[in-house]
């Protein structure tokens, strides 16, 4: 087939294309991902922590929610840009470091202000392994959803796009898991929440470099 024939073929009855269809798709994937994570939490982990009303009065409870939620927002911007050709990233990758730095500063301050015998507890908490297990687990529906959306779009850097998709899923999941998790120490959040979100991000990079080619 000659190139001119291909052009005629493509242009015949091409039809109109709705602009920015990806917005609805991302909204859908995130909505379904969040609801599914909440459902999984109710089914597998007995839902939110029993003392959530008391915990909600503590500032650290909100820090624990806002930290992954902020990462999710930045990861969404990254995913949206990385899934379409020719979109500038505008240093968004570096912006990701900001919430991490803030939580590490809080963690450092908390550790410095605590008596030495309490420091190990602030770092390890009682549930670090549950955090590492549950956040990736609850992220699976959002992970699948965001990957599905990206598959319908055209990421020119599949591994990076996959990492952003995984981080988005992990951060959404961590935000939901924060409602269940009993830990409140900044060092715990700065270490284990971050690692737990990076697990789906790493998986996303690996899977994306294969699955997101087009």
């Amino acid at each position: 087939m000659k190139t001119d024939d291909l052009i005629s073929m493509l242009a015949s009855d091409a039809g109109a294309v709705a602009p920015r269809v990806w917005r609805m798709r991302y909204a859908l994937a995130i909505g379904v991902g969040l609801v599914s994570a909440a459902l999984l939490m109710v089914l597998m982990l007995d839902g939110v922590r029993p003392d959530i009303a008391d915990a909600a009065r503590l500032p650290m409870f909100w820090v624990k929610l806002v930290f992954p939620a902020t990462l999710a927002a930045i990861a969404l911007l990254l995913a949206v840009r990385l899934s379409r050709p020719g979109m500038a990233l505008n240093h968004l990758g570096m912006v990701l470091a900001a919430p991490v730095l803030v939580i590490w500063l809080l963690a450092g301050a908390a550790l410095l202000g605590a008596p030495p015998q309490d420091q190990a507890m602030m770092i390890w908490g009682e549930t670090w392994s549950a955090c590492l297990l549950n956040v990736p687990l609850l992220s699976v529906p959002a992970f699948i959803g965001v990957f599905w959306v990206m598959k319908t779009l055209a990421p020119v850097h599949p591994a990076r796009a996959g990492a952003a998709a995984g981080l988005l899923a992990g951060a959404l999941s961590a935000t939901v898991y924060a409602l269940h998790c009993p830990e409140l120490a900044a060092p715990f959040i700065g270490i284990w929440y971050l690692l737990a979100m990076l697990i789906p991000a790493a998986a996303g990079a690996l899977i994306g470099s294969r699955l997101l080619r087009w």
Binding site: M1, K2, T3, D4, L6, I7, S8, M9, L10, A11, S12, D13, A14, G15, A16, V17, A18, P19, R20, V21, W22, S83, R84, P85, G86, M87, A88, L153, A154, V156, R213, W214
Partner: protein, 173 residues
């Protein structure tokens, strides 16, 4: 392009036509080592532009979008070839002759019509009737016995499958 996305076929045709000329120049310079592959890659990129046209944001510079797609397809081709042809380095000295040469379409090595035949009927028939013979959606539906929705889906999925087919056959060639 924007008119073409709005459903104006003539504008879209003119856009693709001038795009093919632009792509040929863009790719010929970057693919100087594989001049025979330029036309194949022009076609592959045109197909990608068409299949991914919903990812273009009207607020975005068109060239940034086009060049990102062309570069992606170029890197993808080189990656596919890397395992096989790195040792061949033909005609290195005389390349300039080819680079400066004509700007019209040469023949592609890969025949998309042949690849089209490999698609399943539910994708191939809508493409053949609608896009090659110029039938309408309703006529195609009548001829094939498919529903109008299935015809539209068939064209859409078929063109995506064609792009996949290009990539997989190229890998095994």
């Amino acid at each position: 392009m924007v008119d073409g996305l709005g459903g104006n076929d003539a504008a879209y045709h003119a856009f693709l036509k001038s795009l093919s000329v632009h792509l040929r120049g863009f790719l010929r310079v970057r693919l100087a080592r594989l001049p025979d592959d330029v036309e194949d890659l022009v076609q592959e990129t045109l197909l990608a532009v068409h299949n991914q046209r919903h990812t273009y944001d009207p607020g975005q510079p068109l060239t940034a979008w086009i060049h990102a797609i062309a570069r992606y397809k170029l890197v993808d081709l080189l990656r596919r070839r890397a395992g096989r042809e790195v040792l061949n380095d033909p005609l290195d000295e005389e390349l300039d002759v080819f680079v400066a040469s004509e700007n019209e379409a040469s023949d592609a090595r890969r025949d998309l019509a042949k690849l089209l035949e490999q698609l399943p009927d539910r994708q191939r028939l809508p493409i053949v009737h609608m896009k090659l013979e110029g039938l309408s959606v309703a006529e195609t539906a009548r001829v094939t016995g498919m529903s109008e929705a299935a015809v539209k889906v068939g064209v859409h999925r078929g063109l995506k499958a064609l792009a996949e087919l290009i990539r997989s056959t190229d890998e095994n060639r």
